[in-house]
């Protein structure tokens, strides 16, 4: 396996150690490096936003802790949930008294541990609310949205929730706005080659040359099916059509767009995808108010990309434009 690692068992801890050493002004750990908060937590009067999940998706989750985004993160092992104890620790540390929002993707282990962590936090007097990202249209059909996975669109939910909390909004307001964004958000991805789990050492699935998996999840989960690998424009059309079939975006709408690379697909290819998406939306009289093109939610060294679209209203427009400063992402 062609990886720059020491011992696979220590990869996550050493990765976290490296990030903490690189960004001591922005991040600090709570004893155990797997529980990390912004250096100045808790921010007085502000709702705390906590996320978490398995490792292997950088910049998600840890890279988005900071001004304008998240307050704390509980990091699990590669593709494994953090523990409820970590979530409790992080909750204590980021709660200024204004309450805490748990915002993470819809995965069984994460749900269980965040719910239990929240229950433990409530026993200590913290007020905790939860919004779960379910943006992946490929993971369950329309009408069964509660079974959908959370993928790259989580970044957009962080953006909205983080900006809303930074305005000084209370917990219920942050929850309401984040839920409104979640309802207006869809993602759709394609996988071209597998990732290799460091502790396993082999590709997690086989992908024959010339094939792609439409709708593959960010842990290599099965999508809608295998097809012959199309051109960039074909793939962009498939992803955009899949999203537009699931959510009604009227002419004249404003949207935010994320074209996300899964780890091994170069920026060059992502911009070729973006080009097609931009022109197709323009032809439908849909304006891209803000776009992000690059690696925001990865899956180790998986090749592939996803498209996320957030339909904006006036408030969401302001929130996606708000400034951010975190170790992996800045916007002024």
């Amino acid at each position: 396996m062609q990886k720059l690692i020491n011992d696979p068992q220590h990869l996550v801890a050493e990765m976290l150690d490296g990030i903490l050493l690189a960004h001591p002004d922005q991040l600090r750990s709570l004893g155990d490096v797997h529980s990390i908060v912004r250096a100045d937590a808790p921010v007085p009067g502000k709702v705390g936003i906590v996320t978490g999940g398995g490792s292997g998706h950088l910049p998600l989750f840890l890279g988005y802790v900071g001004d304008g985004l998240l307050d704390g993160v509980a990091v699990g092992d590669v593709f494994a949930s953090p523990t409820s104890e970590q979530i409790l620790e992080v909750t204590r540390e980021v709660d200024s008294g204004a309450g805490v929002l748990y915002l993470y993707g819809n995965y069984g282990g994460d749900l269980m541990n965040f719910d239990l962590g929240g229950e433990l936090a409530e026993l200590e007097g913290h007020v905790v609310k939860t919004v779960v990202g379910r943006d992946d249209v490929a993971s369950a059909p329309k009408g069964e949205e509660e079974y959908r996975r959370g993928i790259a669109g989580l970044f957009l939910l962080y953006k909205v929730a983080g900006a809303k909390a930074a305005t000084g909004a209370n917990l219920d307001e942050v929850v309401a706005t984040t839920e409104r964004a979640a309802a207006a958000l869809r993602s759709y991805g394609v996988g071209l080659s597998p990732m290799i789990l460091p502790a396993v050492g082999r590709p997690t699935f086989e992908m024959p040359a010339g094939q792609m998996e439409i709708g593959m999840g960010i842990h290599g989960e099965q999508g809608i099916g295998r097809e012959a690998l199309g051109t960039a424009d074909d793939v962009a059309d498939t992803l955009l059509d899949g999203i537009l079939a699931d959510i009604d975006i009227r002419q004249g709408s404003r949207v935010a767009v994320l074209v996300n690379g899964l780890g091994a697909t170069p920026a060059e290819e992502l911009y070729v995808l973006y080009r097609r998406v931009h022109r197709s939306l323009a032809a439908r009289d849909i304006t891209i108010h803000r776009r992000w093109v690059g690696e925001y939610v990865t899956s180790l060294e998986m090749a592939g990309a996803s498209l996320s679209i957030l339909v904006l209203d006036d408030e969401l427009t302001q929130l996606v434009d708000a400034p951010v400063r975190t170790p992996f992402f800045e916007q002024s």
């Binding site: 409820s84 269980m112 239990l116 433990l120």
Partner: protein
């Protein structure tokens, strides 16, 4: 009334049966249930060492310790069962209290683990026990009452031998599951039997 003796018995039973739980869990799962059971036992003993003997406070303490030390799905669900039971014991006493605690534990595990009866999980032992506890509140001696709950858990556990797994890793290996009881259901049955033996002193295993 306190439940320290019952909790001590549960911890001992989990420790003594850890190897068997691992063996059963290895048939379809990842074989870590014995490890989880051992961690749960340690967490319960730590909670007892605190000297706390109020039932509700002790159950909360157990739930917190278990959540902190046994992070697997099963450990998380056991912690949930303790915390849910703790919240339910406040308003009642005696048999009503036990029935409420067991029902709350079932509801808590179902909500968090998304499993229902017949899915071949710990619910299949715990739910029949909760039903027996509710049904028998006003009949028979205390020993009979506890025996019926214990029997219901055991019957429920044995019934998982013919159930197909619907939840978790075992779902991908349905044929290997048949003929063996679900390891989580075995854990529940062992724990309840041990607790009620300690409570009555004369229960048949």
């Amino acid at each position: 009334m306190t439940i320290t003796a019952e909790l001590e018995a549960v911890a001992a039973a989990l420790t003594n049966n850890a190897d068997e739980l691992t063996r059963l869990d290895s048939i379809t799962g990842d074989g870590d249930l014995g490890t989880t059971a051992g961690k749960v036992a340690i967490a319960i003993r730590e909670a007892l060492e605190s000297g706390e003997n109020d039932t509700q406070a002790l159950l909360i303490l157990c739930g917190k310790r278990i959540a902190g030390t046994a992070a697997s799905s099963c450990g998380t669900l056991i912690a949930t069962a303790f915390l849910s039971a703790a919240k339910a014991v406040g308003d009642t006493e005696g048999r009503s209290q036990l029935a409420a605690a067991l029902q709350a534990a079932v509801a808590g595990i179902q909500k968090r683990g998304k499993a229902g009866p017949g899915d071949r999980t710990m619910i299949d032992a715990l739910a029949p026990a909760a039903e027996a506890a509710a049904a028998g509140i006003s009949s028979g001696t205390q020993d009979d009452y506890l025996q019926r709950i214990s029997d219901a858990a055991r019957q429920g556990m044995l019934a998982t031998q013919s159930m197909t797994p619907k939840i978790g890793r075992a779902r991908s290996q349905p044929e290997r599951a048949l003929g063996n009881p679900d390891a989580g259901a075995v854990l529940v049955s062992i724990a309840l039997t041990a607790a009620f033996q300690a409570a009555s002193g004369v229960l048949e295993a």
